[in-house]
Subunit: 219 residues, 2 copies
Amino acid sequence: MPSSVQHKRIRKTPAARRAEIVDAAAAVALAEGLECVTLRRIGEELGVRPGLISHYFPSADDLVAEAFGSASSAELDSLLPAERAQGTPTLHLGWFFARAAGASYDNISRLWINARHLSRYRPVLRDRVAEQEAAWRERLTDLIRQGVDRNEFRTGDPYLTTIQILVVLDGLGAHANTDTSNRPAEVSRMAATTAERELGLPHGTLTRSDAPLTASPTG
Amino acid sequence: MPSSVQHKRIRKTPAARRAEIVDAAAAVALAEGLECVTLRRIGEELGVRPGLISHYFPSADDLVAEAFGSASSAELDSLLPAERAQGTPTLHLGWFFARAAGASYDNISRLWINARHLSRYRPVLRDRVAEQEAAWRERLTDLIRQGVDRNEFRTGDPYLTTIQILVVLDGLGAHANTDTSNRPAEVSRMAATTAERELGLPHGTLTRSDAPLTASPTG
DNA sequence: TTGCTTATTGGTCGCACACTCAATAGCATC
DNA sequence: GATGCTATTGAGTGTGCGACCAATAAGCAA
């Protein structure tokens, strides 16, 4: 029963192994933080020697950046799908805020704080953070533009509105590592409130309780 | 010329040495980040052996927390003085936003990101962050309450307004390690705009260009 | 089956970190 | 000027990290 330690080598294609490494790194980054994405830790996670991780990522910084990018873009796809099969922009925006205000979003908030801080020391990660920020901005802007086209939203500058919403969201997420428990409801609603104000929507439009808050807009 | 290395011991009182250590740690924390607050680094900063720092702070975590607390509370005193000798609440709030929106505030934003992230792993720091958050909230709430008393501001809930302002401020500060250069003016003004809206002030009241933006409110 | 490519291992090196503790020397006090 | 307290040193421990590299074996192709 040689199940505890792996002596038998398992040889995989570079593409498969690399994907496996990135997935593991993204999972560790989300659950424990980017500081825990080390050659040893990811190697252990996959039952593989640290040198192998080094082989696929000659610089550990690249792996950390890749872990963040992978986790972030996966979350973005889940939160704001690129192609929206069903539902109106208003509904999608409501779903977005419902999830972004929930406790399940805390891991993502933590990851963003983590990445924004670590950006200070790691240029590779800094570039990746900038790239992801652009991706989130673009995805949200697209949704707002579509809402404007359909006369659901009313704003003179969808891009500006997007940034304003994201600033509030960042501000709310900044405290993911501390309290957030005894936070007034008006504060938790701030992102949605901002969106409603800037998009000319009646107050409460984006936080209707009769909407299926937990359901995925595409599923 | 034994000027390069210090072989001569300089013996100070515990209180003086401790204060010296905390000051150096706070400076390093602000300039280079809390991760750089190490026994070696601070010892080198003071021309002293690392063991001495260990003597005053048996756990390095305590020093890191102290460094953050010291830097944060010093900045708070400078930004929102406890006793305001001159100027109205409106003027003080204007000064506050002027400084908080400037580039010189970036180091503070960086420090807060740093501390909020590191809180994830260090309970001692987490407590200190919570303490400082409370202090900032309290100081700003006091200012707003005073403005309400003098009929300069109009809000039903000074505490809630305070939190809303701080959330926006946190959101703006979150990007201190990345771009912030090509940020629309409306975004940079968001904190002041939020305050004006929530306090019933005419738009522009808190960002008047004729106010002495760089002067300290206490002299 | 044989051979070859290369994915994977195992071991090593240097570095930075916190922490411990006996030995030392500055300085106030007498 | 001698004495005692203790602030300060110096040396050492153990851990975890990234990086490097020769040796090995898995699995495909001939």
